[in-house]
């Protein structure tokens, strides 16, 4: 069962990554694409709690850091998504209560995630992060993430909850 779960998680992360880099890049708003991996981590946090989400955030973030064409210090997205997973997991009972709460959670997580990523860039002096660019990119990315939430989050939650249900049944 653990194998099935890890395979499913891996598949979900890979699908999110590929969609994000190869499909949504054609639908980018000012170069910003929806952060599907972040949404997946938020869904995990709502379904399974902060620990699981933080672990998924670490692994998915590392994948995001290493997948071409990423060219920044590896671990920056991993850190950002661990923080996101933990925070979303902490407000899990509220976030899962209603659609509006879930959207607000995603907006907050998107803001925190992108900001943490940008801040690590500023601190490490890595990859041409400028405050002006951050101020421009963060609102757009929060907006785009919120825009795709109604489609992506229920889907991810359904898959994760189904997985949970089979586990209980076994």
């Amino acid at each position: 069962m653990a194998l099935v779960r890890s395979v499913t998680f891996t598949a979900l992360v890979v699908v999110a990554l590929v969609l994000q880099t190869s499909v949504f890049s054609h639908l980018a708003l000012a170069g910003v694409v929806p952060n599907l991996v972040l949404l997946l981590v938020v869904a995990m946090a709502i379904a399974r709690g902060p620990e699981a989400a933080a672990v998924l955030g670490l692994l998915a973030g590392l994948a995001l850091d290493l997948m071409p064409p990423a060219d920044h210090v590896a671990g920056r997205w991993a850190l950002a998504l661990v923080v996101v997973g933990y925070l979303a997991g902490r407000v899990r009972s509220d976030a899962g209560s209603s659609a509006v709460a879930a959207v607000v959670t995603v907006a907050a997580c998107s803001f925190v995630g992108t900001s943490v990523f940008a801040l690590t860039g500023l601190v490490l002096g890595d990859g041409g992060v400028t405050v002006a660019a951050v101020l421009k990119v963060v609102p757009v990315s929060v907006g785009y993430d919120v825009l795709v939430t109604p489609v992506v989050l229920p889907l991810a939650l359904a898959v994760l909850r189904r997985l949970e249900a089979t586990r209980v049944a076994w």
């Binding site: 994000q20 880099t21 190869s22 949504f24 890049s25 980018a28 708003l29 000012a30 170069g31 910003v32 694409v33 952060n35 071409p68 064409p69 990423a70 060219d71 920044h72 992108t114 990523f117 940008a118 860039g121 990859g127 041409g128 992060v129 400028t130 660019a133 951050v134 990119v137 757009v140 990315s141």
Partner: protein, 277 residues
């Protein structure tokens, strides 16, 4: 009864029967009625055939719809093919003009703005002869340079990235400068040119080309980068800077070429290599 017999006798006995005019009169009156009636009835009697043909027609419609869809798809593909052919032609023309051998490649992934680095993945790697620090061009002009090459893919840093600096030369006056990205590819994706000589005033529309590095790494010489859009003079640091509009459109990159040495071993056709001595 008697009347019947009379009519029969009349009709049979004479060649020029007195019944004939009556017959034709009846035909004149009843004929149209008959045909009218049958035309009313025919659809009813033909109903089974109609149902059958309806089914056949439906099948035909389905067939036609399928053919139509296929044709449409083909048409859509033709447009794409035509665009790709045009791009390939453009790349070929670019290689002929510049005289460099290039490995064609397609952009398969684009880094999001959230990463703050403007990089793309191309589907050519070391197997195709691509190495790090090679120049990437497309039909329009300079795209960037290869940061890293794996077996089947490579990561390209676009010239629009904020950390990208390219040595540029004004084609009109041969003055040197540095072209720097702004980390912004959306919209116009402008670049900045800092000229080394503060007394030079570039004209609007001047073309900026690469001046090239030693051994062509990371940038080969003579690739057009962009055109001068406006000029700003900065009295503080005694240099003049110009805003450059890049020739390549970074948001719709598809077919690009990696400039490789002419004798490169590649798993695909190297454009422009065969006419090299």
């Amino acid at each position: 009864m008697l009347a019947c017999v009379t009519v029969m006798v009349l009709d049979v006995s004479a060649d020029d029967s007195p019944v004939d005019p009556v017959r034709s009169a009846a035909a004149a009156v009843l004929g149209p009625i008959e045909s009218g009636a049958s035309s009313v009835v025919r659809p009813l009697t033909d109903l089974p055939a109609t149902v059958r043909s309806h089914r056949a027609l439906r099948a035909e419609v389905r067939d036609l719809e399928r053919t139509n869809a296929e044709l449409r798809r083909e048409l859509a593909r033709t447009a794409l093919d035509r665009n790709r052919a045009a791009e390939l032609d453009g790349l070929l023309a670019a290689t002929e003009q510049t005289g460099y051998a290039v490995v064609p490649a397609r952009v398969v992934g684009m880094g999001p703005a959230q990463n703050f680095t403007r990089t793309v993945t191309i589907d050519a790697g070391t197997a195709a002869g691509v190495r790090a620090d090679q120049t990437v061009i497309n039909a329009a002009g300079l795209v960037g340079r290869v940061l890293r090459a794996d077996r089947h893919t490579a990561t390209v840093l676009l010239v629009a990235d904020a950390s990208s600096v390219v040595g540029g030369r004004l084609a009109s006056s041969m003055e040197l400068g540095f072209v720097q990205g702004r980390g912004d590819v959306g919209g116009e994706g402008l670049l900045d040119l800092d000229l080394a000589d503060g007394s030079v005033v570039p004209a609007r529309g001047d073309v900026v080309v690469t001046w090239g590095s030693r051994a062509g790494a990371p940038y080969v010489a003579g690739i057009p980068i962009g055109t001068v859009q406006s000029v700003q003079s900065n009295p503080r640091d005694l240099t003049r800077s110009a805003i450059i509009e890049p020739l390549a459109d970074f948001t719709s990159l598809d077919l690009v070429g990696v400039v490789v040495p002419a004798d490169t071993e590649s798993d695909r056709t190297v454009l422009g290599a065969e006419d090299k001595p």
